[in-house]
Symmetry: C2
Subunit: 406 residues, 2 copies
């Protein structure tokens, strides 16, 4: 069409009430006025989804996942209708669609469905008629016409997938923060908004606790090279662009410091040092659906070792039960649980080619008299488990030492 095509996603906080819906409508109309073709993806209003889950749990503590999707998908349906009405009020043409109506076809894994394909005919037709197209995020439909949802943060995925499918020029993610920060500004007021960041760094940050965007959607954006612009619904300034490669990136060693206080550490001591023992432990956990995060094993004793791992706090009890049984079976020793931990991480594609980054991190923590409980490294991140009470001190010290406040 020659026109610029933009996919805009508005999260729950950006449409939490009537005023915010009107604000979102104004932004969309403003963009339309400049001549772009616009497809908007919306989440459920504010905390609607949580409220619906609560209601369902009052009725059935173990609700059918198919019915859960039927229930939760109403949240986004309400949003798209109201946003369309708000845009009409401003004198622009807009039309709303559910995930089923636009043909976001998914598999039948209810509550965590994966998109198989998107039929964009309806959207293209509406765009051709110069309408602003509003699509319910987070939801799809199986080939059998059953309604599905894409899991927490699924609206991000809807937006990125639509941007890919429609070959959009950009995908804007509107949220209640100004963009991606070098660290949480609530912990370190000197935190700076990052102008450009790579998919890989963003993925790493998402998995390390940064909650601005859903990890799966970043994976899809990376795979299909969809440029993402994370920005505030309430400000004109541009936010953070998430893209493939950042020029001059070698100059920036560390891009951000992240913090995750949501994990607990479990240590199994005196694990017999035989092949297959670790597999046994973690197979049991997987079988019970417990996701394990960091795993560290030290050969520290004669013929036995200690294995430590972290799990989401909410799964600690379940994990402990599984592990106690497993420990008995394999003849391991004491089990230690530490809920008083925090994971502090530094992220940056630059560190790959800069030796000594890890050493510097450990040095900064040591200088601040912070003991390191576990260490884990990836290609572009280094994480340390520290005592929870030192978490904020650690974040500020690292943020400062790696020059992120500049």
């Amino acid at each position: 069409m020659g026109k610029k095509l933009i996919v805009q996603k508005f999260g729950g906080s950006s449409v939490a009430n009537v005023l915010r819906i009107q604000n979102a409508a104004s932004r969309i109309a403003g963009c339309k006025k400049k001549g772009a073709s616009i497809v908007v993806v919306v989440s459920a209003l504010g905390n609607t989804t949580d409220k619906l889950i609560e209601l369902a749990n009052k009725i059935n503590t173990n609700p059918s996942e198919r019915e859960m999707d039927m229930l939760l998908s109403t949240g986004e349906q309400i949003s798209v209708a109201l946003l369309a009405m708000a845009i009409h009020k401003l004198g622009y043409e807009a039309i709303s669609f559910t995930g089923a109506q636009v043909g976001i076809i998914t598999d039948s894994a209810h509550t965590r469905a994966r998109i198989i394909r998107i039929n964009t005919d309806k959207i293209k037709e509406a765009l051709k008629a110069n309408k602003i197209v509003i699509v319910a995020g987070f939801q799809g439909v199986t080939l059998d016409q059953d309604i599905t949802t894409l899991g927490r943060g699924g609206s991000d995925l809807t937006a990125v997938a639509l941007a890919k499918e429609l070959k959009a020029d950009e995908c804007e993610i509107y949220t209640d923060v100004k963009g991606i920060y070098t660290t949480d500004p609530k912990i370190e007021p000197k935190a700076k908004k990052i102008g450009l960041i790579t998919y890989d760094e963003m993925l790493e940050m998402a998995s390390l606790g940064a909650q601005v965007m859903q990890a799966r959607s970043i994976e899809v954006a990376k795979k299909f090279d969809v440029p993402i612009h994370v920005r505030s619904s309430f400000e004109k300034d541009s936010g953070t662009w998430i893209i493939k490669e950042v020029k001059n990136m070698e100059e920036v060693v560390v891009s951000a410091v992240t913090l995750n206080k949501g994990e607990s550490k479990i240590t199994v001591s005196n694990v017999p040092d035989r092949p297959g023992i670790a597999a046994k432990i973690f197979n049991e956990l997987a079988a019970k659906g417990v996701s394990v995060d960091m795993i560290v094993q030290n050969v520290s004793h004669l013929r036995s070792t200690d294995i430590s791992f972290t799990v989401n706090k909410t799964e600690a009890k379940k994990a402990l039960k599984v592990i106690k049984k497993a420990a008995r079976n394999i003849g391991a020793g004491e089990i230690l649980v530490d809920t008083d931990i925090a994971r502090v991480s530094i992220v940056g594609v630059g560190m790959k080619s800069h030796p000594g980054v890890a050493a510097k991190m450990f040095g900064v923590l040591a200088k601040n008299k912070i003991n390191i409980g576990m260490i884990s490294t990836s290609n572009i991140s280094i994480s340390c488990i520290v005592q929870k009470k030192f978490a904020e001190v650690a974040v500020r010290a690292l943020h400062d030492s790696f020059g992120l406040a500049k």
Copy 2:
């Protein structure tokens, strides 16, 4: 299948909160246990629909009807999911469907769509698998996959239409009253529950102000001879059966007394007594979308007449504006508006073959010193407009005189 097939409809008050949803689930499960095949139609929880309308009006006082349907249809979708979860909790299999999913195909008259046809394949398949089928009331879908709604009380229509299409043995309408009463028990405590009533009487009562069932759904039930059982969600006793013909009906002259306080009377005086004048007035009203109810014309003066009619109170202002203009054009006289009126009616198929019913009605009102402002009669009803302050007295007197309290 040989099994008895029952369509059960639960109105908003029957699923207004968690406890009531559980109560509805118990009733459904109890019926299933007895061996019937069951299709349930549900309305939105309590006053959900009104709340959504309110929300929409805050955003746009003149919302698009397509978007309104998109918005309102979420109410029933929430109900079906929760009800399915509640039934699962009781150990029974159930599956929910939206109007679109079961294929309730309508025209595209948004907010007041008419059902064109119903594809019952999905329902039949689920019934064959011994599942309780739960269908969202009030909604359908156009051939273009746009969501539509059927207008106020539309869930009744969904239930009756499904009962017809599935050739159900009966259609149960669960509500918060015990059935249809000889008159409003709030006005006359001696009012009795009616055991059997004909479609025609029920239709007449609905149009005269009784609000238990939507008139359109009774029309459909009559057309296709679907037996309806209106009953309480909270009691075991049977309620009122609405059927084609009631045996021994000739013994019952009057079945019920109804009251409607929602109308205003407009009188156009000194209307020239020429052909086509009345048509002119009522054409103007129709053109502006004002529904007129009772119309009475008396030839009372030389070459001129008075025309009185009633309209819904909410449309009185609009009607007056139209009428004032029309009166000037046709050279009529003064316009009088009376908002202080009530319509009291007696309904009964028996009155067709019993002369003197009207005379008796007028006599009862006269004996109670109640002046009659307008009179209108149909095949099976007689209505009198009286002063609003006498309405309850009139209802009680008629209820007593026609032996309905016995």
